[in-house]
């Protein structure tokens, strides 16, 4: 059985070290990651997303409107104290990079409040810090071998290829949406006058006979 004195000393030491480790973890930016989401934003609606970010983390917010109306949306990004870091109205696409100046919850909102009847589909990619490493014990002191470095370079290059593909896909979806929109409008514009003409001709025929 431990003597009360040594137990207390052990507890004290454990307490001190856990607090120090905790403080260290809070200061060092964590592994981070990316969130890519495509969501529907109804008319007159606002949708906000939140994320807890540690100080010093480099973050990027990129968004694009895929379908709806004039393909634009209001976007606003705020820091934990409510200071506006980014604010743009009626934007189709934008990319914003910032470094978190303080710990806390960052909030970004997309607003379609200016639109009375068009739903919008919005895509955004919120990258926080670096991608988590492939191996949990990535903070090794030894340098990577040439093969491993080559693999890392290829991985980064492929990531940018996938990124380009995403943008291509979004642009294609947007183009298709515009084409379908136009098709509907043209059909409506040609169909309706024709129907009115036929009705008018029919009436005229009735009157004559």
């Amino acid at each position: 059985m431990l003597r009360p004195g040594s137990a207390r000393r052990w507890l004290a030491a454990a307490g001190r070290w856990s607090c120090r480790l905790l403080a260290l973890l809070l200061l060092v930016p964590g592994p981070g990651g990316a969130s890519e989401i495509t969501f529907e934003l109804p008319d007159n609606a606002k949708q906000c997303f939140y994320e807890d970010i540690t100080q010093g983390t480099k973050c990027t917010l990129e968004f694009q409107v895929i379908t709806g109306g004039h393909y634009d949306v209001d976007c606003r990004l705020e820091d934990p104290d409510g200071n506006v870091l980014y604010k743009e109205m009626k934007k189709q696409y934008d990319s914003f990079t910032f470094t978190a100046s303080k710990n806390g919850t960052y909030k970004f909102c997309f607003s379609n409040e200016f639109s009375t009847f068009t739903h919008k589909t919005v895509y955004f990619d919120f990258q926080v810090g670096e991608d988590p490493p492939l191996f949990p014990s990535e903070n090794r002191v030894s340098a990577l071998t040439q093969m491993e470095s080559a693999c890392v370079s290829i991985h980064e290059a492929l990531k940018s290829v996938i990124d380009y593909q995403t943008h291509f896909r979004l642009r294609e979806a947007q183009g298709r949406s515009r084409a379908e929109d136009l098709n509907t409008r043209v059909a409506y514009c040609t169909c309706l006058p024709r129907r009115i003409l036929l009705l008018g001709a029919g009436r005229g025929g009735e009157n004559n006979s």
């Binding site: 009360p4 137990a7 207390r8 507890l11 004290a12 454990a14 307490g15 001190r16 856990s18 607090c19 480790l21 905790l22 973890l25 809070l26 964590g30 592994p31 981070g32 990651g33 969130s35 890519e36 989401i37 495509t38 969501f39 529907e40 949708q47 906000c48 997303f49 939140y50 994320e51 807890d52 970010i53 589909t121 919120f126 926080v128 810090g129 988590p132 492939l134 191996f135 949990p136 071998t145 093969m147 491993e148 693999c151 890392v152 290829i154 991985h155 492929l158 990531k159 290829v161 996938i162 593909q165 291509f168 896909r169 294609e172 979806a173 298709r176 084409a179």
Partner: protein, 235 residues
């Protein structure tokens, strides 16, 4: 100093100090494990839908965690086990491929069999929710698609791969995802959505190859493998 005093002071028995240390360590683990997930608020009867445009045979994994606003403590607490989320996934043809109820914390997985826009919808199931005075539910959501959905630690353990082998395996998975997306876009870009194949392409059986002749600058011959007579089923 303060920590030492805290540990010595709290409670007449060593166990109390230990409790404080354990709490600190748990907090430590919380921060260490936290991947920093995105969250949003959802109302009681609200349904939130997300869209994923993906090629076929692509795996999608979604992880979510819910928290309920506690008016007394004025903060968000982990939701009670009774409060669950209903997850519904529809494929591009509006057919439901997943419709399940999960708990306050859950993980849903599905693999696409048709390329195109899949819709993932979430809404809370509980009627007891109204006990919490019409509060908002906080939902932490993380959706991983394709290569990002792979658990490399599991793959390394299962196939007994070395570090270098695992890295190369990741590259192979990435390239496969790129190829799938390219094939999907190739058909999409030429044919748009919907519509039937031109008559020159006679399918002898599903998965048959089809030589499609396109007039661009000169002629561009391409081979497409089609599961049916619709453009969308070609890759």
């Amino acid at each position: 100093m303060a920590a030492e005093q805290g540990v010595l002071f709290v409670g007449p028995w060593p166990g109390a100090g230990l409790g404080r240390v354990i709490r600190a360590l748990l907090l430590l683990l919380c921060f260490a494990a936290r991947g920093g997930t995105l969250y949003f608020h959802i109302g009681e009867t609200e349904k939130k839908c997300f869209i994923e445009e993906i090629p076929d045979e692509t795996m999608v994994i979604g992880n979510y965690r819910t928290q309920l606003y506690d008016k007394q403590r004025e903060e968000y607490q982990p939701a009670t086990p009774g409060l669950g989320m209903f997850v519904e996934v529809k494929d591009p043809e509006d057919k439901v491929i997943l419709a399940r109820q999960y708990g306050s914390e859950g993980r849903f997985t599905f693999t696409s069999h048709t390329p195109g826009e899949h819709q993932i919808c979430l809404h809370s199931n509980s009627t007891k929710f109204s006990l919490f005075a019409g509060g908002m539910l906080r939902v932490h959501l993380d959706i991983q698609v394709g290569e990002h959905a792979n658990d490399y630690a599991e793959i390394a353990a299962k196939d007994k791969l070395s570090e270098l082998q695992l890295r190369v395996r990741q590259l192979v998975e990435q390239v496969e995802q790129i190829q799938k997306e390219q094939n999907y876009q190739r058909v999409r870009g030429w044919a748009g959505s919907g519509g039937l194949l031109p008559r020159s392409c006679q399918l002898t059986h599903p998965g048959a190859a089809c030589q499609i002749h396109y007039e661009t600058q000169g002629t561009y011959l391409s081979e497409l493998h089609c599961k049916s007579k619709r453009w969308d089923d070609c890759y």
